[in-house]
């Protein structure tokens, strides 16, 4: 997953505001997400080589919920830019791009991956959380936080490929996880300067580890699901 922070200057120099103020107030950050293997963007449905020579892996579906996106600055002060649920879907370019206005330099990003237990507890919701989006378990209640499906040499399509459906919200099985991903200290995104940073999500490494600990399937809330979510930060980093 790449989060590209593109602090561009959207100047709307309205009368009465001094020039510098309008830069500060109206810096727009474009955020876009993408997914990588071996440094390359993945394409859905297309096999790509893995470290193991001769082996390939393919991702057919990659979707997950993100909530509470917050940018924070070097002194730790944070500003939640919006308070909405997003269904990130690798097949839907529109779901990978965000645009925020900020008024202080940005050091990193915080977000919840998955749907928290309070929201789950309250039942079903509309919008991105509408159960028609296919991110709700049917045989039991609760949102699916994260779905990754595809095939590989070790989980061949002929045997159903691999399926990781990760979720759960009951006590002890709560599989939503908040992440905080920072740039290096000296690399904050200043206001008014065009910056691109990426929140890289290393799908190949994630899949390798998922296979090692889970085999080809994870389809229900469990301790493994909780661990899966907690380990995700190993594969996410910010890159400028």
């Amino acid at each position: 997953m790449i989060l590209r922070l593109l602090a561009s200057i959207a100047l709307t120099a309205t009368a009465g505001l001094s020039f510098s103020q309008s830069i500060a107030k109206d810096s727009t950050i474009h955020l876009d997400l993408s997914f990588r293997h071996g440094g390359q963007e993945i394409a859905l449905g297309v096999p790509f080589p893995t470290e193991q020579s001769g082996d390939t892996t393919q991702v057919d579906l990659l979707r997950f919920y993100v909530g509470g996106l917050t940018l924070f600055n070097a002194s730790g002060t944070s500003s939640t830019l919006e308070n909405q649920w997003h269904l990130i879907d690798a097949s839907d370019a529109g779901s990978l791009q965000f645009e925020f206005d900020v008024d202080s330099p940005t050091q990193g990003v915080r977000f919840l991956l998955g749907v928290d237990s309070l929201t789950n507890d309250a039942g079903v919701h509309g919008g991105a959380l509408d159960p028609t989006n296919g991110m709700y378990w049917a045989w039991q209640t609760g949102y699916i936080n994260f779905k990754l499906e595809g095939s590989s040499n070790v989980c061949p399509a002929s045997e159903g490929g691999y399926t990781y459906h990760v979720g759960g919200f009951l006590s002890g099985l709560d599989a939503a996880k908040s992440f905080e991903v920072s740039l290096a200290r000296d690399a904050q995104i200043s206001l008014g300067i065009s910056n691109e940073i990426s929140l890289v999500f290393e799908v190949d490494r994630l899949m390798k580890e998922a296979y090692q600990s889970l085999g080809c399937r994870l389809m229900r809330p469990s301790e493994s699901a909780v661990n899966f979510m907690h380990n995700l930060d190993k594969y996410i980093y910010l890159e400028q």
């Binding site: 309250a122 039942g123 079903v124 919701h125 509408d130 159960p131 028609t132 049917a138 209640t141 002890g172």
Partner: protein, 342 residues
């Protein structure tokens, strides 16, 4: 919510409450519902939509199965005759369909509590291959091409979306309240128990009330009442949801209201009659690590006591509820021109 209920008590004695524009009547002496009406306040238009959806096989892949196929109004919304419920293409499920009423007082749904929210519960049967084998997105598509539903949703002021279809089903089910049995009338001093029923009531309070607690006749918790595990079904109950050892073989304590209409009994429908159930409690309880303490010795009742207890249990039947027209098939929705039968 709470305030509204309280106002109801102050004003009327009868506990009335205005939730949305649908009046939920909380029977005298009952606790507050555990259902949170705030997320989905009831209104008459939505309740009627939910009623139509409940009886409409459009919810199943091939238009053959409705919710009412397994939850019949004449069986207090349970599925009788069949031990295990039958779904699409006559596939047989692994559990007996429970009765549906007084759901606002229920926190967990399904025998193992796999559903924690009534608003979300209906996705289970809709998407279950053995039940309706459909999916919510295609149902929404179908409903959008049906003028009656388009008009109905517009009358309710809600968008026709997946979440609102589920919430309509939930609203209708929340209106299914059974509180008009002989037992209830006795509690309100409008009737009295026969000598036999009164003796049965004593036995009930002594042996059964810890789990099947008055006035709902369930404490809403999970327990193991010592049924031997069915070798074929291997149903571990609540454990499948929580993955906690102590929940193994625990099932939700069912209500004992309307037993006349809800046979066969237990999560797998293994007993056809109340007599068989009492025999189980008398001599069939097996000792497993999670079997409830109060049942470990069984419930020793002689033949006469069992007859007394049975007589009491029959006072929990509520014909007014079972035959209430306003919960039945909404003919006027499906056949608006053929005379109304609400």
């Amino acid at each position: 919510m709470k305030i509204l209920y309280t106002i109801g008590i102050l004003l009327s004695g009868l506990v009335l409450s205005q939730v949305g524009n649908y009046e939920v009547v909380i029977p005298d002496g009952w606790p507050e519902p555990v259902h949170d009406f705030k997320n989905n306040p009831l209104d008459s238009a939505t309740v009627e939509l939910g009623r139509a959806l409940f009886y409409d096989p459009v919810l199943s892949r091939d238009n053959t199965v409705s919710c009412a196929s397994c939850h019949s109004p004449y069986n207090a919304f349970a599925h009788t005759d069949h031990k295990l419920s039958h779904g699409i293409g006559d596939s047989i499920g692994t559990r007996n369909a429970p009765a549906l009423f007084n759901l606002a007082w229920q926190r967990d749904f399904m025998w193992d509590g796999a559903a924690h929210s009534l608003d979300a519960q209906a996705l289970g049967p809709i998407e279950h291959v053995g039940e309706m084998d459909s999916d919510l997105a295609s149902i929404v598509k179908r409903l959008k091409s049906d003028q009656r539903y388009v008009a109905g949703f517009s009358a309710s002021g809600k968008e026709l979306t997946g979440v609102n279809v589920l919430k309509a089903l939930s609203q209708f089910q929340l209106t299914l309240i059974s509180a008009d049995s002989k037992y209830d009338r006795v509690q309100m001093n409008q009737d009295s128990f026969s000598v036999q029923e009164a003796k049965g009531y004593k036995l009930f309070q002594q042996h059964c009330n810890s789990c099947h607690a008055e006035p709902l006749f369930t404490n809403g918790k999970f327990a193991s009442n010592g049924l031997p595990v069915d070798e074929n079904l291997q149903d571990v109950g609540r454990y499948a949801v929580t993955l906690k050892k102590e929940d193994s073989l625990q099932f939700k304590v069912p209500t004992l209201r309307n037993l006349k209409s809800t046979f066969p009994y237990m999560h797998d429908g293994r007993f056809k009659s109340i007599g068989e159930v009492l025999k189980h409690y008398n001599e069939g309880v097996i000792f497993a690590s999670t079997t409830a303490n109060e049942l470990r010795e069984g419930v020793p009742l002689d033949g006469r006591q069992r007859t007394d207890l049975l007589a009491f249990l029959l006072t929990l039947n509520d014909n007014a509820f079972v035959f209430d027209q306003k919960h039945q098939y909404p003919r006027s929705f499906f056949f608006p021109n053929k005379g109304s039968n609400k």
